[in-house]
Symmetry: C2
Subunit: 212 residues, 2 copies
DNA sequence: GCACCCTACGTTGCGTACAACGCTCCGGGA
DNA sequence: TCCCGGAGCGTTGTACGCAACGTAGGGTGC
């Protein structure tokens, strides 16, 4: 049986990631409990976990609210990504199995399809695919400490809702990077792979910074 | 007023850091609650937070236990430190105030004193000083995301109880590094500072790996 | 003799009630 | 008119009780 706390946790996280709960919004325990149909106890536990992930901040006796990030915060997050993700990608290049490569290839291809300019473009649908891609890459790297360090900082939400912010050229670059990364992994070239990841993050940072 | 949960949190963390609660030890909620003189509720909250920090692991319906780390885990942790701490040190070199430098200098000097071979050597007393030194360095770097990423992974505990594992030469090097780091910061030389930090971590890694 | 099931116990998960804290609004004084 | 103090309200923090899950032990059937 999956615990009620666990369900509350993922439900709240999804709400935040989706943007239903805006940054800075106050999170009343009773309100959330009623909305989820549970008591306050699992809600408190879930908020606790989300606080650990950095998605919400709790102030003693004053409740919780969705975290918001200043431009400086964002810049710092990109610094951490830049320090860790290329390293993970390099490791992944040495460890990826054929199955891993196919899965990543599939994700990259689908993102390219639905991200292409035209009537079928669906920027929102890219979000989960992109998340899966980076998550899978981390899993392949098989570096738990590194994944943990990233997970607690690189709150996908911020990155996630910004595909709308990409101009066409940046978006095309970003989607192309995924494909190139798979190629580098397939070649087992750690240097190439990590360089592509650095480009990928640099491109994203430019988009984020420009928009603030 | 500081909350009961907060006190339970720090009390348990200290117990783990001090080694009173050995890695792998099962943590019963009622037992902890009785020992701390509180109810199970704040204990559960505290365990939740400790789990987020990576100090304990909770298994649904099966309770919590103190995390233990395999040699591979340790290696991964050093990888993360190597990716992040030199970067933080470089930033610190550009931002340290005279006050910061004096504080760090003082810490480095005291560690050197009590770490010197002889009757006054006190390896246990180095631990908190070392923790303060690295914490202060992170604070000076003023990179919240970077600090958060490290905090959630580099559970000082592991590093902390290992000064006894240092052979004399490695210990001397480690203590000298602190002083050299201060010198590099004072010179405002980011490259130098980060290089010393890389050496510092490499030295520590060698000690840890050799002892396993 | 071995494997499986079933029962009983101890634990954790959740709900609810009460206590304590913080905020807001109102009133009094300077 | 502005500032300070206090009471009321809504919130969060903690305790406790019950229910559900996991585990270990003994018993039964093959």
């Amino acid at each position: 049986m999956v615990t009620t706390t666990g369900r509350a946790h993922v439900a709240l996280r999804e709400s935040i990631l989706r943007g239903d709960l805006a940054p800075g919004a106050h999170l009343g325990e009773v309100e959330l409990a009623e909305r989820l149909g549970v008591s306050r106890t699992p809600v408190r536990e879930a908020l606790s976990r989300l606080a650990a992930e950095g998605l919400v901040e709790v102030l003693p006796h004053r409740g919780a609210r969705v975290s918001s990030f200043s431009p400086d915060d964002l810049d710092g997050i990109f610094d951490v990504r830049l320090a860790l993700e290329p390293r993970a990608t390099a490791r992944a290049a040495l460890r990826a199995t054929a199955e891993d490569l196919d899965a990543l290839d599939d994700l990259a291809r689908r993102m390219l399809e639905i991200g292409a300019p035209g009537p079928d473009q669906d920027l929102d649908a890219i979000v989960p695919l992109n998340r899966d891609f980076h998550a899978r890459l981390l899993a392949v790297a098989d570096a738990p400490a590194l994944s943990a360090a990233l997970a607690n900082v690189v709150h996908t939400p911020i990155v996630l809702r910004t595909f709308h912010a990409y101009d066409p050229a940046s978006l095309a670059r970003s989607l192309a990077h995924h494909g190139e990364m798979v190629a580098a992994l397939r070649a087992g070239d750690a240097d190439w792979a990590s360089a592509v990841m650095r480009s990928h993050i640099g491109n994203a940072r430019a988009v984020m910074v420009r928009n603030r």
